[in-house]
Symmetry: C2
Subunit: 204 residues, 2 copies
């Protein structure tokens, strides 16, 4: 054990707190005072370390998105794997990420929808998908008549099936339809099921 992490720098404390509060409440509802409280530091320190709320937000976003795509990039650009293998990799990785950070998808989409251009980094990463080896393979499936629709449909379906349970979770739990452990179990099963379903769609 090299780093017991007993004492983190104030700067890092603020960033972790900001991640929590921003993702939980969204940009507008997340107050600087909330972040300071969550980090257990003085209010003024937020602006001392990160000139403004907006700047802090940008940094958090950039790091989050960056980290996400850095892990997915090698998967979707591996020239040695099949489409199915790639999708398995993405699904598995993505679900793990969301299990740790359930509010992330909502957060991302929410800020994206607000149209306020608060994080421009996103758009570039979107392009990364389109120029990936995976996408090339999907286009080949199309020209080979294995699928009769635009490849983007596969991506939408994959992401939709991955994300949906996390969006619906509060509703599902509150309604009592499932207990939390059951929910976790279903999520875990879906890691295997989603790639299977996607294969069916591609006639593989």
């Amino acid at each position: 054990m090299t780093e017991t992490r007993i004492d983190i720098s104030t700067e890092e404390k603020i960033k972790e707190a900001a991640r929590i509060v921003f993702t939980r409440k969204g940009y507008a509802a997340a107050k600087v005072r909330d972040i300071a409280a969550e980090a257990d530091i003085n209010l003024a320190l937020v602006n001392y370390y990160f000139r403004s709320k907006e700047k802090l937000f940008e940094i958090i976003m950039t790091e989050t998105i960056q980290g996400l795509f850095e892990k997915i990039q090698p998967i979707i650009n591996n020239e040695l794997t099949t489409v199915s293998e790639k999708l398995e990799g993405i699904v598995d990785h993505y679900i793990d990420l969301l299990l740790e950070n359930p509010y992330l998808p909502l957060f991302v989409v929410n800020e994206l929808m607000s149209g306020s251009d608060r994080f421009p980094k996103m758009t570039n990463n979107g392009n990364m998908f389109l120029h990936s080896h995976l996408f090339k393979q999907l286009w080949e499936l199309r020209s080979g008549k294995k699928i009769e629709f635009h490849p983007v449909n596969i991506m939408m379906n994959m992401l939709g099936m991955i994300i949906m349970p996390f969006l619906a979770r509060p509703l599902i739990l509150r309604s009592g339809a499932l207990k939390d452990e059951e929910f976790r179990g279903i999520i875990e099963q879906r890691k295997k099921l989603i790639p299977l379903w996607l294969n069916m769609m591609m006639n593989l």
Copy 2:
């Protein structure tokens, strides 16, 4: 033509404006002054007609959710239709609704996630799904070994595949991957494709 709708009551004007601003920006970011401006009425009138921002929000939410489920209820409880037919109906109806109101899913989920219990009506409607004829049919599929997983997976997949494109739209359009007409075209195709894909999952 009985009602050319030239002059709507102030109360209705505020509600329509609130719907627009709330769904576009979320509860916290939607300012009462924005709503007043959108409705083109005096600021104080908002509180005159609806005692508070919170009350106004509750009313909007209740009406929206109510309207949504009222249209879906007869579909999922029709005892004369097959699972596939029901799913076709839901998909078709839901997509049409979202085409008119693209911000709705984000809005709903967002407010749901905030956990602030700003609209309790939702939970009841969630139960409606679980006690529907559709759900009974899905359970029968399970006991008949047509599907080897919890029926709730079908619902999640359906909703995920329906909603995902709308969540991703801003990203897709900004990245230039698709033009707006192409996007609309794909959505239209998905009305047919999603039920097909769902059938595959259920081995139907």
